[in-house]
């Protein structure tokens, strides 16, 4: 089992619904966010090209945050989801420094926090909050090892990229281009 997310940059309109849904679902403290929307503008007018990406923790296969955690608080859950056990986290910030995507932050309560792919929902067979609210249905979530999952099917038919592949992290959030 390998959970992954595919996000269609051609369908995303940058409405930030995913950001608000995550904050509500996960009780993210005010002033913080676990996901965010990036707009990239390329070229010179009138030859402009725009890409909109909803970004979050990439739940990398080779996670530098898991590698550098001194206590093992950052770890892989079954299916490759990277999470932080709050009671094991000493708040040393090493994982924050190690993440090329700056996807982590220190929760006001002291432990490090980040996107969990809504593990508590996924365990119940539901979609992550961001995926379930997307008004343009531009996000796909599921098991990459299962050829019939939404994410496997869409990735078979589309070109995709990942963020900063040169960082060697093998990220599991794919952007359809």
């Amino acid at each position: 089992m390998r959970y992954a997310m595919a996000i269609d940059t051609k369908k995303c309109v940058g409405c930030s619904d995913c950001v608000v849904a995550c904050q509500t679902e996960n009780n993210v403290p005010i002033g913080y966010c676990r996901d965010w929307v990036v707009e990239v503008m390329d070229g010179t007018y009138p030859q402009l090209e725009m890409e909109i990406r909803s970004e979050r923790c990439n739940h990398c296969d080779n996670s530098p945050c898991v590698r550098c955690c001194p206590t093992g608080a950052s770890h892989y859950e079954p299916g490759g989801i990277v999470t932080v056990t709050h009671e094991d986290c000493i708040g040393c910030s090493a994982c924050i420094e190690s993440c090329p995507y700056d996807a982590r932050y220190t929760h006001p309560d002291g432990y490090v926090d980040k996107c969990t792919f809504c593990l508590h929902r996924v365990e119940k067979g539901q979609q992550p909050a961001c995926v379930s609210v997307c008004p343009t249905k531009c996000m796909y979530f599921g098991d990459l090892d299962n050829p019939n999952s939404d994410v496997s099917k869409i990735m078979k038919n589309r070109k995709w990229k990942v963020l900063a592949p040169e960082a060697g992290t093998n990220p599991q959030v794919y952007y359809l281009i």
Binding site: C33, D35, T44, C92, C99
Partner: protein
């Protein structure tokens, strides 16, 4: 032209707009850790070589400072932790892939050794010292008997501590400025240089001052070589590391780095130490303090500069 913006307004504290998860605590801790490693290294080295009486500042007096230095350093590290009540989790596991984990364990070895070393020399500070209990006296005799073995352990563990202060940074490939294996030897050299500087300040005999001035001069030469090598490596590397190196070669950190670390912290003390070796009268406290200042600035600028360097996607 390419413009990349976070349009959902991400402003996570200490992450945006420029990463600053590590403030003054970590660079101060790395400086003090390196300094302690430097002092213990020389104390162990000259004890093993049987020159304890010839170089008392290095083998006996300077190590008295180490427990204090380590406690202040560990205090800074503790202040940096955000989930402070759970700090003991560091010692419920060993994770070799995490430099912070084996660094914490190294400190667990080095700190008691530094206390033992002080205890063995305590009669220098308090001539009438009495251990009172028989078992403490027996313990002292035990460590005196095996002092050379203890020195070897101290030599190895202080070297590991010195290198660790650099590897802690270099293990993070997300921060291209840190992601160079030169940082381990560079911080070790900087720590040894700072240790030598403290010994120079504390030495009463001219012969000892002269020896450590020579050692310091040599280490400064090595440091300059490593710094040039580091930037040569960056300049020949990929876009992320070119951008990282630019912070120190024209960017925001250029003036502080080259002025405070290289000129004031290395070149000027090197010239003064050279003049001293050539028998000019130089108040040794000047080059030694400059070395300590440069060593501290090196940690701060690399810590802050590294957090300003990132992947460009």
């Amino acid at each position: 032209m390419r413009e990349e913006l976070i349009i959902s307004g991400r402003m996570n504290p200490k992450i945006d707009p420029i990463l600053h998860a590590w403030g003054w605590e970590i660079p101060l801790y790395l400086f003090l850790g390196g300094l302690a490693a430097g002092i213990l290294f020389f104390a162990a080295l000259y004890t093993i070589r049987g020159k304890e009486d010839m170089y008392p500042a290095a083998t006996k007096w300077a190590p008295f400072l180490v427990p204090v230095i380590l406690i202040v350093g560990l205090g800074a590290l503790f202040l940096d932790l955000h989930h402070k009540l759970y700090f003991w989790r560091l010692y419920t596991t060993i994770r070799f892939e995490s430099p912070m984990s084996w660094g914490a364990w190294t400190l667990m070895i080095v700190t008691p050794i530094s206390f033992i070393w002080c205890a063995l020399n305590i009669k220098l500070l308090f001539p009438k010292w009495d251990w009172k209990y028989e078992w403490l006296k027996q313990l002292e005799q035990f460590f005196l008997k095996y002092k050379i073995a203890l020195s070897w352990i101290m030599l190895a563990s202080s070297s590991i501590l010195g290198v660790y202060t650099g590897i802690l940074f270099s293990a993070f490939n997300a921060r291209p400025l840190w992601n160079t294996s030169i940082l381990g030897p560079l911080f070790l050299a900087s720590g040894l240089s700072a240790g030598a500087a403290v010994i120079i300040i504390m030495a009463k005999e001219h012969a000892e001052r002269l020896l450590f001035s020579k050692i310091d001069l040599m280490i400064i030469g090595i440091e300059l070589f490593l710094i040039i090598h580091m930037f040569m490596g960056f300049r020949a590397s990929t876009a992320v590391q070119l951008e990282a190196a630019h912070l120190f070669l024209g960017g925001a950190y250029t003036a502080p780095f080259w002025v405070f670390v290289v000129i004031i912290g290395m070149i000027i003390p090197a010239i003064l130490e050279f003049l001293e070796i050539k028998k000019y009268k130089i108040p040794v406290v000047i080059p030694a303090s400059l070395v300590l200042f440069g060593s501290l600035m090196l940690r701060f600028l690399i810590a802050y500069g590294g957090q300003a360097s990132r992947y460009l996607y």
